[in-house]
């Protein structure tokens, strides 16, 4: 085969390969969404994080404004210490409320931030003090059953008293 034809085809081949890797990175992967520009870091302590994982989104009003950077167990307070990276463009007051929510019934877990009314804004390295743990389904069910049992017991006792 002609020399230039071979070169042309190999060039097309390599270009296609690079395009495929770029396509995978941008269209399939999260290279674009994880790249949120300048960030600042805050921490939050939770008693139970449920299934929260690193890289999970941090949302406020449903908009992704940051990502979970890391999760470590704090053996002093027996709590999970979650490091959050927030986009520099978004500032939150110091009494912001951090909740762990689940997207849908079986979806992934994310952190939702609800702004408070304080004048002072969170700075790099600050700690969010108001947190709410992840909902653990087993706990909820056992609580529900316990309440149900105590309800029937009390109604029975009132019946007996009558």
């Amino acid at each position: 085969m002609e020399r230039t034809t071979v070169d042309l085809w190999v060039g097309v081949f390599v270009a296609l390969g690079l395009a495929a890797i770029f396509g995978l990175a941008l269209k399939v992967g999260n290279l674009t969404s994880s790249n949120i520009g300048d960030t600042y870091t805050v921490t939050a302590a939770f008693e139970n994080i449920g299934g929260l994982k690193p890289h999970a989104p941090v949302k406020s009003a449903g908009v992704v404004i940051g990502r979970v950077d890391g999760i470590v167990f704090d053996s002093k307070d027996y709590e999970a210490k979650v490091t959050i990276k927030l986009d520099k463009r978004y500032q939150f007051p110091t009494d912001t409320f951090a909740n762990i929510y689940t997207a849908g019934l079986l979806g992934e877990q994310y952190i939702g931030l609800e702004a408070g009314g304080e004048e002072v804004q969170l700075k790099n390295g600050d700690k969010i003090t108001h947190t709410q743990d992840a909902v653990v389904l087993e706990k909820m069910i056992s609580q529900f059953l316990y309440n149900k049992a105590s309800d029937t017991k009390s109604s029975e006792s009132t019946k007996a008293a009558e």
């Binding site: 085969m1 071979v6 070169d7 085809w9 190999v10 097309v12 081949f13 390599v14 296609l16 390969g17 690079l18 495929a20 890797i21 396509g23 995978l24 990175a25 269209k27 399939v28 992967g29 999260n30 290279l31 674009t32 969404s33 994880s34 890289h55 989104p57 079986l106 992934e108």
Partner: protein, 263 residues
């Protein structure tokens, strides 16, 4: 009885020695390929020609099978996922299974069948017709002139082919999920982007494909180089290339995966 036991043991010993000898010979060849690394990059034209033979000519089979694999994944995944009411997760399923596993592994298997056999047969025939000996007589190292360019061509082609496989496979899954089944277009891509991580998934897939490229090309080269210089020897070597490459790829895939997924 005693004679039978003795001959069994002799056979076992013979096989063990031959196995060790082959591993040693393969390692030696691998070492020489590295020694002639810069030598072969001094003549990039040889490598370009081999990339054409191994990579470009494998393009059609890789792309067509990728599209069909993606479509099958889309159909099968939808069938199961819609039972749990989460058919939007089809994009995640297709993308993750392609990028992490099927892309590198199926590409490597096809590569061994399409390009590996060609390399083995070509080198085996070169040896049978004493072309390699002729080169040595002219003080041209056959490793530098024949083996090393093919090795680098295979190592370069494999990741490109695997990336193309994954991309076309995702498009195949998209083709089944969105226009045919009617999954929402936005949910397909956004759920995929939310769950596929560039480093953990895509880059690990690329690493896998590079490793498979090294292994498949090396097995093909060694089997050709080591083939008995007869018609039967070359045919056996070609068969061994496919069998050994496939086994090596599947076994290595398990090992690599267990390293990449921290349990």
């Amino acid at each position: 009885m005693f004679k039978g036991l003795q001959s069994t043991l002799v056979g076992l010993g013979h096989r063990a020695i031959e196995g060790v000898w082959r591993i040693g010979a393969a390692a030696r060849l691998f070492f020489y390929v590295w020694v002639y690394l810069f030598e072969s990059f001094k003549r990039p034209r040889l490598i370009v020609r081999e990339i054409f033979a191994t990579g470009v000519l494998s393009l059609l089979i890789i792309l067509v099978s990728a599209f069909f694999v993606g479509m099958v994944l889309g159909l099968q995944g939808y069938n199961t996922l819609q039972k749990y009411g989460s058919s939007e997760a089809i994009g995640v399923l297709v993308a993750l299974s392609l990028v992490r596993e099927l892309g590198p592994v199926v590409t490597a298997l096809l590569f061994a069948g399409r390009a590996g056999t060609a390399i083995t047969a070509e080198i085996g025939l070169m040896k049978a017709t004493e072309q390699l000996s002729a080169m040595e007589m002219m003080a041209v190292s056959p490793v530098a002139r024949v083996i090393a360019p093919r090795f680098w061509a295979g190592v370069i082609s494999m990741p490109i082919l695997a990336a193309l496989f994954s991309m076309v496979g995702v498009l195949g899954g998209y083709f089944v999920a969105v226009p045919i089944i009617g999954v929402d277009d936005g949910a397909f891509w956004s759920q995929m982007q939310a769950s596929v991580d560039f480093r953990d998934d895509i880059l690990n897939g690329v690493i896998k494909s590079v490793v498979f490229g090294v292994v498949c090309t090396m097995i093909a080269l060694f089997e050709g180089y080591d083939a008995p210089p007869t018609a039967e020897g070359v045919s056996r070597a070609t068969t061994r290339t496919v069998v050994n490459s496939s086994l090596a790829v599947l076994a290595l895939d398990f090992i690599l995966t267990s390293f990449m997924i921290s349990v």
